[in-house]
Symmetry: C2
Subunit: 384 residues, 2 copies
């Protein structure tokens, strides 16, 4: 027995040397009622994620209507062994305001999904439900890790060179310099955990309207200074512009939630515009139709690559815990991607890496002089 | 003689009744040395514009190297009768800083092009040269008409429903509520003059991160209030989001120069991304190549529609005079479009319409209470 145990330990050390630490089974806590389709997308999404995770040990808590979840599980028997249903009748509707969700959402599928993290039952929570409610409830239950008012939302943006993480895309309307640097720290750790390649450090850029040091308003210039001088463990490359997002110039692009939200939605609008133009171009005459028919495989491949569901799963960063938001309209493939994001984040050293850089930022803010903490009042000055 | 003159007057009144006021010949003052190609694009651009203007009486002052301009004119003899060359040896390079251009640019082709407006020799100025220099020199020579620090740049954005004017896209980094309303006033008058249809009032929206009254930061909420309550003569439709730009939800979209610049460049990046994806999709295999070949006409039509040169010509709004910036890399067709924009603006009631609304805004700012003029200090408050 002792010898067997010793052999098992040896084998474990061996495995660690080959593949890194052996991960314990992770538990992902899912709001099974969220999104446009509820369990009808969540359960097939879990099934798809299981095959993609290729044997990585993951369990799931599914919060919601037990009967509806069971009905879906009957169609996906492979999922049954790794799933635990947590029944609740209460569901937060998509149009409920965050304040209302806080007052009346306790015990709902969304609430319970997040609560499982606090109870130590789960390593990450995932919902395709009401974004405002998810943010408010997550903040209440888990609290913020840094100085942000609310969690930052990160978008995984398909680019010519891979995926660029853009944040914040909607939660924090105004951001001072220190908060922009917090986005950089969290975004870098996120990219490393979810989109990163082994032994490659993500590169980070700050969104501005030009590349010279004097461009932009006070907050971005001060954040630029902090990112260069605060001694953070990240590969900061300076200012980038809007067209650098799709180029993939850097792996992480930092901006305030107002600008980030406008940029993301502008890009979504452009994607729809291009799709419509392409449809129009290919239905113009018989030859075009024939061409489109022949090229349909290529067009399908292109559409798949541009499909937002292929990069679905936006974590709410800045919380003491991993919470991931899936698009409400995501299909099973998109939901599976969001599961993958939750698993990758929970399995990574995101929390420790982020905490270390946050510590350095705090030290720098104390040492680098008063400008760093005065950017709120500096907002009143018009940059020129 | 008297009778002939009287008949001519009658005829003129007749024409006015039929087609609106008879326009006097307009004079467009052009920096012939600006942009990547100088006279080699400017002169063919003028030739193309002449055919497009279909007999509308327009004259051109071409500022720059007389020998180079003459050489191009020799290839476009139809242009000769409507052109006057104003020789200068001095050219402002593309990389010169605005401050330097102000100090040393006097007498340059760009400077003289703008100066002609002040001298009363021209109705509009046009340059494909250094944007910063054009803004600084125009502001110095012509002065600002309203309260803006610097001219606003408007982008004519192709949409599913036509062209939407988006401003500011880069000049004013931070904008208070009153300035955002000035953008609305100028953008509406611009759209009416350049992209408008007879008897249709342009609709106006304010760019935000949601459509409810309480969304966004203090400046957009206060601008929203002013636009609804200031009694302006414009069709304000409320908040719009980033994806409304390409949708063409409204004809004019107002935002600060930082957000506008990021949105425009993000869209440019997306356009390049789509073009690259499309090339990749259609070179994947033999069938795709064949499909692309057959559909090439459709693809060409689509490319033409998305070509930025088809909507080239961004006026600098807010000056006492019409100044239009062409893309530095525009071809003759693009430059001809910029000429058309200058002609349409100069021939329109842009100035009087704008002045009337500016007057109303001024009255409203005095009457609507202190909030309206306090938005500078309100910038320091974090919107939540």
């Amino acid at each position: 027995m002792a010898s067997g145990s010793s052999q098992s330990l040896k084998r474990r050390v061996q495995v660690e040397r080959e593949t890194g630490p052996v991960t314990q089974a992770l538990t992902i806590s899912i709001d099974a009622m969220g999104g446009d389709h509820g369990p009808a997308v969540v359960v097939p999404g879990v099934a798809l994620a299981l095959t993609r995770l290729q044997g990585r040990p993951v369990r799931f808590l599914l919060h919601g209507d037990a009967a509806r979840i069971e009905a879906e599980l009957a169609r996906h028997p492979a999922v049954r062994p790794v799933v635990e249903i947590r029944h609740t009748d209460l569901v937060i509707a998509g149009d409920v305001k965050p304040a209302q969700a806080l007052r009346r959402g306790k015990g709902s599928s969304l609430w319970n999904a997040v609560e499982a993290i606090r109870k130590g039952e789960a390593d990450a929570a995932l919902s395709a439900g009401n974004t405002g409610a998810l943010m408010a409830i997550s903040k209440l239950i888990l609290r913020m890790a840094g100085d942000l008012d609310r969690p930052a939302i990160v978008a995984s943006w398909p680019t010519l060179r891979g995926v660029t993480a853009v944040l914040d895309v909607g939660a924090n309307i105004a951001s001072d310099a220190a908060q922009l640097v917090e986005f950089a720290i969290m975004g870098e750790a996120f990219h490393r955990a979810v989109h990163g390649k082994p032994d490659a450090r993500p590169t980070v850029g700050l969104l501005n309207v030009g590349s010279e040091d004097m461009k932009g308003h006070e907050e971005v210039r001060e954040a630029h200074r902090l990112l260069r001088e605060a001694g953070l463990d990240l590969d900061y490359r300076g200012f980038v512009e809007g067209d650098d997002i799709s180029k993939g110039t850097v792996d992480v692009i930092v901006t305030d939630g107002f600008t980030g939200n406008v940029a993301l939605k502008t890009a979504e609008g452009m994607a729809r515009f291009f799709a419509a133009e392409m449809r129009a171009a290919f239905t113009g005459d018989l030859m075009s139709k024939l061409g489109a028919l022949i090229a349909s495989r290529a067009l399908k491949a292109m559409k798949a690559r541009l499909d937002p569901s292929s990069v679905n799963g936006g974590p709410l960063l800045g919380l003491k815990g991993v919470v991931v938001k899936s698009h409400g309209g995501a299909d099973a493939a998109g939901f599976a991607n969001a599961i993958k994001v939750a698993v990758d984040l929970a399995a990574s050293d995101y929390a420790t890496h982020t905490a270390r850089n946050m510590q350095r930022l705090g030290d720098a803010l104390r040492n680098l002089g008063p400008e760093a903490s005065q950017s709120d009042s500096a907002m009143a000055e018009r940059a020129s």
